[in-house]
């Protein structure tokens, strides 16, 4: 091929790629999709770097998707004047991150630990995988990876199609009409608007998903119930195992407190049969109360607050956006009025 011909091909590549990717972006925007960040190890590492902010400047959240969805970081920032540092991970236990924070002599800030009992008390190790991966990345992150993260952030802030969970090649392939393989348990691809994430790592379900996507809501309800039924089939945890586990938690929380840190346990809402199942599987007196008593910590359980206990999680496990604002307001109010937490904004 003549040099000129390769140049023509290169010009064609640039033009066609710009047109096709641009068209895809416009199409997704036309369908009503908005910017959502990938919940990558890099963004976790970015948030984790902020844990050393002064105690009166920030609060760290650890746990599962419940606190990631239900605490609105925008509302938190507005009410407290402080930075919410979201280190929770979907489908995960807070324990690996709690251990990392307690082992870090420089961390002495405010900490909220989300208790979603099936994950908090999951000792199988499965719910440790994601946080461990994030922590490992955070410890080993190279300067090149950090620089890439900043460029990626710039791009993700501007392009809807840069959403790996929903619009990447691997996600698009999951839309192929392929039946499940007998003997292989796989969850279907989560509905696109079930999980949108902002730069604070705060997830949300869009109103369109909650109000209009009946099939998608039913899918998530079925997934939670399937997971709950799998948990229900597991043999009950022996009391000495629970005691030993909580003793470990106490060791971690004591270490943080000894350095001047403050800790509160938080039980966000769940609804319907999922909430009933969680009450049966993890009776409050044997789990939630025990955590608070043994660790000598204060806690906020949604069921203790009339306005929160009335809230309905559409897909049983997470609050809709408008409710996350109310929930966050209540959390801030309880923390400042009942637990003596001081916030910059004076709530």
């Amino acid at each position: 091929m003549h040099s000129n011909n390769f140049r023509k091909a290169a010009i064609m590549v640039l033009s066609l790629t710009t047109m096709l990717i641009g068209g895809y972006e416009l199409y997704l925007r036309h369908l009503g999709y908005t910017i959502s960040f990938d919940d990558s190890e890099s963004i976790f590492a970015d948030k984790k770097r902020k844990i050393y902010l002064p105690k009166d400047d920030a609060t760290v959240f650890i746990g599962s998707s419940r606190v990631k969805y239900d605490v609105s970081t925008v509302t938190w920032r507005k009410l407290t004047g402080e930075t919410p540092i979201q280190l929770a991970n979907v489908g995960s236990s807070p324990i690996p991150v709690l251990k990392a924070l307690s082992a870090d002599p420089l961390f002495k800030g405010k900490l909220i630990i989300d208790v979603a009992e099936p994950l908090f008390f999951d000792l199988s190790g499965r719910s440790f995988e994601r946080p461990k991966k994030c922590l490992d990345f955070s410890n080993d992150e190279t300067p090149a990876q950090r620089f890439s993260f900043h460029i990626n952030t710039l791009l993700e802030s501007n392009f809807v199609f840069l959403d790996k969970d929903n619009f990447a090649l691997s996600a698009l392939l999951e839309y192929l009409p392929i039946p499940p393989r007998p003997g292989k348990m796989d969850f279907p691809k989560y509905p696109t608007e079930f999980s949108m994430m902002n730069f604070d790592r705060n997830n949300k379900m869009t109103d369109r998903y909650v109000d209009q996507d009946r099939k998608g809501v039913k899918m998530m309800q079925d997934i939670w119930m399937q997971l709950a039924s799998m948990g229900a089939k597991a043999p009950p945890m022996p009391v000495h195992v629970i005691d030993s586990f909580i003793k470990d938690v106490k060791f971690q929380t004591d270490q943080i407190r000894a350095r001047g840190g403050e800790i509160v346990f938080l039980r966000p809402p769940s609804s319907g049969p999922l909430w009933k199942g969680e009450q049966m599987g993890f009776p409050r007196d044997k789990f939630w109360e025990k955590i608070l008593t043994v660790t000598g910590s204060k806690g906020m359980h949604f069921a203790d607050h009339a306005e929160l206990s009335k809230m309905n999680c559409t897909e049983f496990s997470h609050l809709r956006q408008s409710d996350t604002k109310i929930f966050t307001q209540k959390v801030v109010e309880v923390l400042s009025k009942e637990m003596g937490w001081k916030f910059k904004a004076g709530n």
Partner: protein, 477 residues
């Protein structure tokens, strides 16, 4: 820094810009050298010292070897280079492995020895640049060419960023002469380089990471016997992943160098179209296999010391080649299997030659697709040991592949099986069709718009895959 990262895009854009400014050639070389150090340092800055150490020692040894006539002293200088290069490699790459084996031996001997587990970080690409610099000292010792006088050119040869951390392992006489006079890519070279860079990234990001890695990881981490289909799919996925990952890196490296105006030789040549194992090693990781041939197999005596020594030399070379890949007995078995295949192939070829009265190739040995598939099948068996983290896993996968696993245990879903089937079938077809061709030659023979269409497809898939910053498998070697 990995090629499949935004950091690299910015880095490469800046390097290209400066390289094409009207500065003096020496300035441009200094710039390339500093860029190469930066490329390496953003992974782990202190390990730059290892690179510098390797550079200094081989430059100095090379200089002395070129003037020293006393054979004993020449041997001492060579020993200094071997210790200086292989010492750090032994410590960083094989330290833990050697300690583990020493502890096992001590325990077997009844000595209760439990040392603290060492925490050694493996410097990225140490095996590659060690072999590259070592080849210079060995060539100097063999008086292959004159010692390099310019430290700048030599340092750039050691650290040239496109191939620094995962090859191709370039020989001094291939790269250093290119630094002697000003080099700037022509438009054709630049566009071809960009095409190769896109192709290499497509191989790595789309095919290896996005479509194959998941299935390979799922099967090799299942930790149980499984259905034969799943085991085969996992192994085939890995055979594709390792090729696309490493072949992708080499293609990127060649493309990046070409964009700057430099030529680096091929490292892969459609290996899964190989007919037999000598052919496979002429197509797979060519720069390593030729390195092992020139600096290990031939010095051991090659095929010049009788048939038995030939077999021993082949086996030794492949065992060391296996160990080069990683500090684990599974890699040694991988190398050993390849050595065994090569030995059996040589044995059969020698027997056939002895019985054939016709000149030229044996009529029944005319290369065909079935031979290539038999080679591919046997290569896949070796990949089990290469990928498995231990022998228990390897044995479980092998049992499952040959229907001695648990047929009810399924690991992959239909989508995974579809992805592996489509990609591996496509890969075999392309390898077979292209087995005597070069990608750029084929591209040059096609109309510009068809090259443009294919190139656009590669780039769009690359953008859509949104897989970035995962390391290349060969970085750990």
């Amino acid at each position: 820094m990995v090629f499949n990262s935004y950091t690299f895009i910015v880095f490469f854009a800046v390097v290209l810009f400066i390289h094409n400014l009207p500065f003096k050639w020496t300035f441009k070389k200094v710039h390339l050298l500093l860029a190469s150090y930066l490329f390496y340092a953003v992974w782990n800055p202190p390990f730059i010292l290892l690179l510098l150490f390797s550079t200094f020692i081989d430059f100095y040894v090379g200089k002395n070897l070129s003037t020293e006539q006393n054979p004993t002293k020449r041997k001492w200088w060579l020993a200094a280079s071997l210790i200086g290069n292989l010492g750090p490699l032994a410590y960083f790459k094989y330290g833990e492995f050697m300690l583990e084996n020493f502890v096992s031996l001590a325990n077997v001997a009844g000595i209760d020895f439990h040392p603290l587990a060492p925490d050694i970080i493996l410097p990225v690409g140490i095996s590659f640049y060690t072999f590259q610099t070592l080849s210079y000292s060995l060539d100097m010792y063999n008086k292959k060419y004159a010692a390099e006088k310019s430290f700048l050119d030599f340092a750039l040869f050691v650290t040239f960023f496109p191939q620094l951390v995962a090859g191709p392992i370039v020989r001094p006489d291939e790269l250093i002469p290119q630094f002697k006079s000003p080099v700037k890519a022509t438009w054709l070279q630049f566009n071809q380089g960009m095409f190769l860079l896109t192709l290499g990234l497509f191989m790595k990001v789309v095919l290896a990471d996005s479509l194959l890695a998941g299935s390979a990881d799922a099967v090799f981490s299942a930790g149980k016997d499984m259905n034969a289909l799943d085991a085969w799919m996992g192994v085939l996925a890995f055979s594709g992943q390792i090729f696309f990952d490493f072949g992708g890196y080499s293609t990127c490296a060649i493309g990046i160098a070409l964009c700057l105006g430099f030529t680096i030789r091929d490292n892969f040549f459609y290996p899964y179209a190989a007919i037999g194992f000598s052919d496979f090693w002429r197509r797979w990781h060519i720069t390593l296999s030729t390195w092992l041939r020139d600096y290990l197999y031939i010095p051991l005596g090659g095929n010049r010391k009788g048939i038995i020594r030939t077999y021993i030399n082949v086996m030794l070379t492949m065992l060391i080649g296996g160990l080069w890949h990683g500090a684990s007995w599974t890699f040694v078995v991988w190398g050993g299997l390849h050595g065994l295949y090569l030995a059996v192939e040589k044995f059969i070829q020698d027997k056939r030659k002895a019985h054939s009265h016709e000149p030229g190739p044996h009529p029944h040995l005319k290369p065909n697709f079935a031979h290539a598939m038999l080679t591919f099948f046997l290569v896949n068996i070796t990949w089990v040991f290469f990928r498995a983290q231990d022998f228990t896993t390897a044995w479980s996968i092998l049992k499952s592949m040959f229907f001695f696993g648990n047929p009810k245990e399924v690991v992959l879903n239909y989508l995974d099986i579809l992805k592996v089937t489509v990609v591996i079938t496509g890969m075999i077809i392309v390898h077979w069709q292209m087995r005597h061709k070069k990608v750029l030659t084929v591209a040059e023979s096609k109309p510009w718009w068809s090259v443009g269409m294919v190139w656009t497809f590669l780039l769009i898939m690359l953008i859509l895959s949104q897989e970035s910053t995962s390391s290349f498998i060969y970085f750990q070697f």
